[in-house]
Amino acid sequence: MSFDPHPLLIWFQKLPNGGYLLGAIPVWFIIAGGLALLVLSVSAVSVFVTHRGAGGKLFLRELSGCISDVLSLSPRRIGALAKLTFLEAYRRKALAVFVVFALLFMFAGWFMGDSKEITNDQVKVYISFVLRAISWLVLPVVLVLSCFGIPEDIRLRSLHTVVTKPARRLEIVLGRVIGFSLIGTVVLLVMSSVGYIWIVRQIPKTAKDQGLLSCRVPVYGSLTFLDRAGTPADKGINTGDLWEFRSYIEGATAARAIWTFKNMDASALDSEGNLHLENQFTAFRSYKGDMKRQLLFDFKFINPEKPIAPNQPLTFTTDARQVNEFRGVTDKINRKLGREGDEKTYDLIDDFVMKDGSLIVEVSCIDREQYLGMARPDLFVRRPDQPFYIGYAKAVLGIELLLILVTIMSVTASTFLKGPIAAVLTSCLLMLGGEDSHNFMDELVFGKFKGGGFLESIYRIITHMNPTTDLPDNPAFVGMRFFDAGLTNFLWLCKQVIPRLQYFNMSDYVSNGFDVPWDASVVPSILVTLGYLVPCVLLGYFALRIRELESK
């Protein structure tokens, strides 16, 4: 695995220092509440400025009107508006996207290598191609339709006929969101069904029998290291990789990688009482040595709660096994464990799982002066596999949720911007929502970049000043830093409004043969979508309510 799925913190977590780390929902309440307060304050001030004495009354009347609109929503009217939106999109030939889709899949085989050489890697390419092609075809169509819907209605004045009916503007926004999402969903369902059939047909039966189309269910643990002297360390050794995902432990020393798996019980075993431990370690040789065999390592199960002698916990070490790089290898460990020189047979669950349900597995490299590389997801307990279509369906659900999010943002943007500008705004938000750009913004916001903020970096560039040289300590530079801090805080605020789209990309899991985890991907995607739905729809309603519809 080359990615590390971490469950999203939903509520809060108690920190070792006694503080609390807030999760997604409390943070959402703070930001959404803050934004609502900001919008209300700005509206109140503008009403007081324009209407002076009568402002207060007017503001309260508008506010109560808004609340009454929210409370008197009619599902029937929303349904009717959604149906109209669906038909409108259909008449605008949204389904023409199927032509491009058909063309892509007709010729995809040309670009995808030889089906005679089906390997795990080849399957990975097929699956990621299908899911990526579907996303890239559906999302732009939905984006364009949603961004141009309301502005076009305003331009053609067809919105006038709607707003003069009993339909409320909040219902118009909701109807639009639902209608465009529905047409997108229809397109997505057809494409994903064809895509599924295409994948299954591309992969020969023999390859399927070998389990190449799998959906593994991993249980990840936490990883800690011991260095070569046996002292706890944050990481192992970097053997020169640019990508610091994996770190290495040295062979034939006290260096260890220690995994702790939580909530382990007999349900983790298969019907024959075996624990499936899958690993994907990498090898680094400091000298070539014996190339006829791969590097060796072993697993050691430890239970510190059951000492067999003073300061000597109960342990069981497996036989040495060879590293099989870049491929998942599953080791079956039987629950009945016999230790050398000990007549007693131990039970993996009863004797090695601790009271809190944790199982500790220690990995060591056996070959002297050779190194074994690993990251947290490189060792996991493998529960019984799910059928492939489960993982695939979850990945399609990820695209569906993204589609809804795009529709929400596009419709909202189109309530206060013209079509093309709304499309640009939504596209920019989507581009900025990627993991890389969020990481980049994090680095900017938390001052990880050398060279300072906006003004400071300009000053340094012009004066050719090294980023490590301190700035002079005088009022001008203090002011400059103050201004930069203001900008950085503003960027932090903007960052909170930009959606985190990394959760929606579930194709990596499926293409790598894994089930999509609920806690690290599906639930966060649903939360992000819901998190944007409420404020965006309210913002769209508010914008449409104060918008002068005669102005094209």
Binding site: S2, F107, W110, D121, Q122, S128, L242, W243, M291, K292
Partner: protein, 449 residues
């Protein structure tokens, strides 16, 4: 009415503009009817510089379609793909990397550097990231096959043809794992080949060095029409003969000392002196251009020049070229190794090692002594003196001495004070690197099966 006239006249203006633009487009893009000089300007230029898709190499319809569909965005798409490729390489996502490489070459099928870089990347860099030798070989093969496909798409490319030879000679033949790679070249470890060859990589079921030689010969043929910019021409064209030398040497290393090996040396000598030695290289001496051959003797040079001064200059030029390619050494080595006596000496020392490994000490001692005696005689032969500077040969002799001496030590006997090649041992005792190599090879006698 007025509006209608305006609209109509506007349409007519558009039509006129379209017709006007069509004239240069037709003049430029008219297709050729197959005869020389026919067709539009672009067709004529394409024919003149042999730039048509089919002139350059095999046509890949998917690649052509992709380039057309992208219109002018090919450059942007390729740049994005390169960024992806680089990231995937760092993250060791090999499958995705291979897929992106495929997309890049479909977009830039005639950009030779793309084939060269990615072929090298797969064969040399990606293979080194894997631990198991069959895995490493898979990527070496992927790189080699990729370069071969590059040659098919760019038939006239001398560079790509050279790189095919380079992967076969240097990666398969000289890598640390070369023993396994060479075995896999003819008995692929992939189960789908049932222990036979991969027909895409080694269609003629040749030894890797002979396949490298064939590829290098093709590169030399292509070089005659399209110059290369990788090596000096004299070094570039020595490659086929050097592959033959490598082949002969590896036969000895594999313990084959019969007629096959002697013939391989003889062929290498012929390739070196009769083919490569008779190749013509153009050199410039004081603003004048001369054609030289490395096998030229004084008489040839005299017949070639107008004045004694020119003869001196030309002799110097030939000498400098010979030094550059180590011409004398390889000629002498070829002569010596094609000699039956040398071949027997090699066999004796090889057999001594085998006997020693099995601890048949008497036989090991006799074979080692026989090999040492013969080599002593060979190295004293007139014309073969420089062989004593040849590290591989010296190390082989010193290993023979070490085995011979050890047979005495194991039997608790005194090692004789005088023995053949004693002078060579004394000469090399101070050379730390040689002695280390010999002692490593001695230890390996117990490790290798």
């Amino acid at each position: 009415m007025n509006n209608m006239t305006t609209a109509q006249s506007r349409k007519l203006t558009y039509l006129g503009g379209i017709v006007l633009l069509l004239i240069p487009i037709i003049w430029l893009g008219l297709p050729s009817d197959g005869k020389a000089g026919s067709g539009g300007k672009l067709a004529q230029l394409r024919s003149q510089y042999e730039l048509g898709e089919s002139d350059l190499g095999d046509v890949d319809p998917s690649s052509a379609a992709m380039n057309l569909v992208l219109l002018g965005m090919r450059g942007v798409a390729v740049n994005l793909l390169w960024v992806d490729l680089d990231k995937q390489k760092d993250m060791k996502r090999w499958a995705e990397m291979q897929a992106v490489t495929e997309s890049i070459v479909r977009l830039q099928p005639h950009f030779e550097k793309v084939w060269e870089f990615n072929g090298w990347n797969l064969a040399f860099n990606t293979s080194a990231e894997w631990d198991a030798v069959p895995d490493r070989y898979y990527w070496v093969k992927a790189g080699g096959k990729f370069l071969k496909r590059g040659v098919e798409r760019n038939r006239k490319s001398t560079h790509l043809q050279y790189h095919v030879a380079n992967v076969l000679q240097k990666k398969i033949g000289i890598a640390d794992e070369s023993k396994d790679y060479r075995k896999y070249f003819r008995n692929d470890p992939d189960p789908k080949f049932n222990g036979g060859i991969d027909p895409e990589f080694n269609p003629d079921d040749l030894d890797s060095y002979l396949a490298a030689k064939a590829a290098a010969e093709l590169a030399c043929i292509k070089e005659e029409t399209r110059p290369q910019h990788i090596l000096d021409r004299s070094l570039f064209r020595s490659m086929p003969a050097r592959c033959q030398f490598d082949y002969a040497m590896v036969l000895q290393k594999d313990g084959k000392f019969g007629e096959e090996t002697r013939e391989a040396w003889q062929l290498a000598l012929n390739d070196w002196t009769q083919k490569y030695g008779k190749e013509t290289f153009r050199v410039s001496i004081a603003d004048e251009l001369f054609d030289i051959q490395l096998e030229m003797n004084r008489e040839d040079i005299k017949a070639f020049v107008k004045s004694p001064d020119d003869a001196v200059k030309l002799t110097r030029a030939v000498e400098s070229y010979r030094r550059m390619v180590n011409y004398y050494y390889w000629r002498m080595r070829g002569n010596a190794e094609a000699d039956r006596e040398t071949s027997e000496a090699h066999r004796d020392l090889y057999e001594a090692n085998q006997f020693y490994r099995k601890q048949e000490l008497e036989k090991a001692r006799a074979s080692a002594l026989s090999g040492m005696t013969t080599f002593d005689a060979v190295l004293h032969k007139k014309g073969y003196e420089e062989l004593k500077d040849e590290d591989t040969l010296v190390e082989e002799c010193l290993l023979g001495i070490m085995v011979w001496e050890d047979t005495y030590r194991i039997s608790n006997e005194r090692v004789p004070d005088e023995f053949p090649l004693k002078w060579l041992k004394q000469e090399r005792l101070g050379n730390e690197s040689t002695m280390q190599n010999v002692s490593r090879a001695f230890k390996r006698l117990f490790l290798d099966n």
